[in-house]
Amino acid sequence: MTSNARTATAWIFLSPAMAVIGIFFVIPVLAAFVLSFTDFDIYSLGNWNYIRFIGFQNYLRILDTPLFWKALKNTFYFVLIGGPLSVAVSLGTAMMLNSKLAKFKSLYRTIYFLPVVSSLIAVAIIWRYLYHPAHGLLNYVLSTVGISPVDWLGDPALAMPAIIIMAVWKNFGYNMLIFIAGLQNIPEDLYEAAHLDGASWSQQFKEITLPMLKPTTVFVVMITIIGYFQLFAEPYVMTQGGPLNSTTSIVLLMYEQGFRWWSMGYAAAIAFVLFIIILFFTLLQMLLQRSVK
């Protein structure tokens, strides 16, 4: 077979997948990119003559909107607190499950992984019940130790922490599995040697576990951060961005502008701003990974 014929064969086999990606991914993304330079809104939806090309005005308007900065702040809050917390919880549970003392390992692994595979919407609705100020299980538990009821999702200062707790609970199982795989790759003799040298548990953790896990950790942190930047369903189901916009994320803002007010052009521009932010963190990840190697 000549190399030309081989390339042709490859293209034929690839074409169905390429077509699907083209129609459902590339074309919509390009369309959204064009849309972000127009003022497509509810008037344009009724009559296409009302569309105007307005250059970078949507992007300039975004920078001029206080709610965008608020949403950006909320999103960073979620990413920078929720991200590391999620990684820490996954690492902690992974180490417990990897420990020689642990029993029923596969049972616990399944239990911890269960939230990851459950539907996010159903989970969010159930957590809304748990957080209910008057009838919620969480406040009931707190009341048994004498803490007065907390309006978890109604208090602007607590709503985001409440969402972070739920999101961490929902997601940590996935990273936990990756960490378990990472931990199992660390040769046992390193620990044995350290033990013989009289290293304490915390020394072993600091000098063996963490350095050996570095590639895994970088990967997990970056995947988590990129995922967390796209926070949407949790606040959409639980708080609708409230109270006082304290849980409005960038994606929720985009959704509201696009589908509630039908400012499609503006919403598309928000999407590309988010794209640029995530791109920045992805590049950072690549740099970090290179330095690890």
Binding site: D39, D41, I42, Y43, L45, G46, N47, Y50, R52, R61, P133, D151, D155, Q240, P243, L244, F259, R260, W261, W262
Partner: protein, 426 residues
């Protein structure tokens, strides 16, 4: 084996006869109802289907929180229903989309629909550029709920008719509470609601928008006086300036922590259930106080209408459903099962409504309601207004500064409209 064959034949016969009966021109129409109404309407639909055996109604219940998005998406995707329940503040959007059917021709041939019988202020919300697009299904307005005993103690056997007197009464109530070493916020104005601000603005005679609704007019004199009155209520602590204090409206009412509050008809039921039993004779409803001498003061014509989508292929059957649901007879029935107030004035003569002492004030109020600006951006504008109410309440901004900044934001929202007006498209 033979027995089994019998069954199969039987099934086939049933199946075939079912098919032919369906072919006998049964029209199926799709009806989207929102929230609780979408559920409660089912029993009326049964009666409708009994009276109209050739029409079958498929009711789809849509939660209010998702209704707006769902309708716009349905329009974009060309899958709108035949009949839909629409909040009457949404009508401008759907007429901008040119998605609704004008109803005038149907009304003219109808024996059941009598537009003159509908509260005029409410009917007006359904007419856009002098075309009728919706028939009011139930009405809603806002007025004052108050504690009779507390106002009586302050020297007001009847509820004050003007805002000036409301402020006077508030002052007395506050002083009396202080003398007893208790706390009372006489007039609770929530900082997360736009209704009181808009009502006060209307009463001050302000046009919210100007130049063919293409520019904000909030910094004008009238709206300034409305906002000043609100800031006075917060500054004098007649109302708490945050939302943390009043966690449960009904308990706060029962405890005398608040004495007056602006809200809607659904709270009649809630108050009857949730106000302390020994205080059940001590709460009442009163029409909106006014800025001038005319009583009652103007309030909002809210509620929902039924409309037909232009794309519907069964407009005749769709109209039949609207005609049925908005008739006097059925609106009384609907009131009985949901407590939703009928838009037809003659329905209020019915004993079911006449016997309820709390809804008399609503009847008076509904005679004096004025429509809001009919622009698609309106909902966005009032939601934004809430933020400024909060700024006023907490004293973060002065009235003038807040209204000037708000006006600027409204102008940005109306930019497209301005362009269309300039081009003569509007």
């Amino acid at each position: 084996m033979i027995q089994r064959l019998h069954y199969i034949v039987l099934v086939l016969i049933v199946f075939a006869s079912g098919c032919t009966r369906q072919d006998e021109k049964i029209t199926t129409i799709k009806f989207w109802g929102m929230g609780n109404e979408g559920e409660m309407v089912q029993s009326l639909i049964k009666e409708f289907e009994r009276r109209n055996p050739t029409i079958k109604v498929e009711v789809q219940q849509i939660p209010w929180t998702a209704a707006h998005e769902k309708l716009l998406t349905a329009f974009a995707g060309g899958s709108t229903p035949d009949v839909c329940q629409l909040g009457n503040t949404w009508l401008p959007e759907f007429t901008v989309l040119n998605s609704l059917e004008p109803l005038e021709p149907f009304v003219q041939q109808s024996a059941l629909t009598d537009l003159k019988d509908i509260f005029p202020g409410v009917l007006k919300t359904n007419i856009l550029d002098s075309v009728l697009f919706g028939i009011p299904w139930y009405v809603d307005t806002r007025l004052v709920y108050y504690r009779k005993d507390i106002l009586k103690q302050a020297g007001y056997a009847e509820f004050p008719k003007t805002w000036k007197d409301v402020l006077k009464a508030s002052k007395i109530i506050q002083q009396q509470a202080k003398a007893k070493n208790t706390v009372c916020y006489p007039f609770f104005l929530p900082t997360n609601e736009w209704v009181p601000a808009i009502v006060l603005g209307m009463q001050s005679g302000g046009n919210f928008l100007k130049d063919k609704d293409s520019q904000g007019n909030f910094k004008g004199k009238q709206f300034t006086s409305a906002f000043t009155l609100m800031s006075e209520i917060y500054r004098q602590e007649y109302s708490p300036s945050g939302m943390q204090l009043i966690t449960n409206l009904y308990n706060s009412f029962s405890d005398g922590l608040i004495a007056m509050y602006i809200t809607g008809p659904w709270n009649i039921g809630e108050f009857s259930r949730r106000i302390a039993p020994e205080l059940q004779n001590e709460w009442m409803t009163a029409p909106m106080p006014s800025m001038d001498s005319l009583s009652p003061g103007v309030s909002l014509p809210l509620g929902t209408s039924l409309a037909i989508f232009r794309k519907s292929e069964h407009k005749g059957a769709a109209w039949k459903l609207i005609e049925f649901l908005t008739s006097v007879e059925q609106s009384i029935e609907f009131y009985k099962i949901t407590g939703n107030l009928p838009p037809r004035r003659s329905a209020w003569q019915d004993s079911a409504l006449a016997s309820n002492i709390y809804i008399k004030a609503f009847y008076q109020q509904l005679q004096r309601v004025d429509p809001l600006p009919q622009v698609p951006e309106w909902e966005q504008i009032v939601i934004r207004l809430q933020t400024y109410v909060e700024y006023i309440a907490t004293g973060t901004m002065t009235v003038d500064a807040a209204l000037k900044q708000f006006d600027g934001e409204v102008d940005v929202m109306l930019e497209k409209r301005r362009w269309m007006v300039e081009k003569g498209m509007k």
